[in-house]
């Protein structure tokens, strides 16, 4: 039973993205196969060099960089949405895999979930 957690909201403006990350880390902690898919404005989570200190939030860059160490199988980003937000591969955190978020991708997972 493999789960795909989707993050389609941009960082910092809301809490659902962070709560989706917690869901993924929690599944990984219980040895449940899980991957994260960033799509829509959610791809901005993967931008390198975020400095959210001025809006008094913590960067999740370290958490995301460590995701695979904690057992998250893959960090996936929709390539069209990366293009839409002007994110080139070099601007993405390391370890991110560009994919097309289509039916074929979703068919590879038994569960998909959003945090909200």
């Amino acid at each position: 039973m493999s789960t795909l957690i989707l993050i389609d909201q941009p960082p910092y403006g809301g809490w659902t993205g962070r709560e989706a990350l917690d869901m993924a880390f929690s599944l990984a902690a219980f040895d449940q196969p899980v991957s994260l898919l960033f799509c829509g404005a959610g791809v901005n989570w993967l931008r390198k060099g975020q400095e959210p200190g001025q809006v008094r939030q913590k960067s999740v860059e370290k958490n995301l960089s460590a995701a695979t160490i904690f057992g998250v199988e893959a960090l996936l980003a929709d390539s069209d949405d990366c293009n839409r937000y002007g994110l080139e591969a070099a601007q993405l955190l390391s370890g991110v895999e560009l994919v097309r978020a289509d039916a074929q991708l979703f068919a590879g997972y038994s569960h998909t979930a959003f945090a909200g």
Binding site: M1, T3, Q9, G14, W15, T16, E19, D22, M23, S26, L27, A29, F30, Q32, H111, A113, F114, A115, G116
Partner: protein
Amino acid sequence: MQDSSPLSFTIVITGAPYSCQAPQSALSFAQAALRAGHRIDRVFLYGDGVHLASALASPPSDEPHWPREWSAFLNEHDIPGVACIASALRRGLVDEGEQKRFELPASNLLPPFTIAGLGEWVEGRMMSSRTVYFHGSD
């Protein structure tokens, strides 16, 4: 077409009452599922959904009291209702144990809801035949 084999559900609610319809839709779903002979293993409140477990919600008397309606439903059918501890603490939903731990002036968790970690959600997904999510409008 009807499939007669009973299913078990874990219900996840991430939208708050009076902000969105998620708790109401989830209750209608849960009632319909039981009527159809299915089982609800557990209800898990996550994110803003934890506000459903507030003992202090006081809507006008001519509006539905969703926390109390959910509480009565869980009691009647002996279904565990769990609020995610990280979501709950951030939003000021605490039981007596957390009240003591953080030296807070009050607790406000409506029984039979309890507070626990995301592990309850993970376990629910593993034991139930379906996990159904009720989200807010974000």
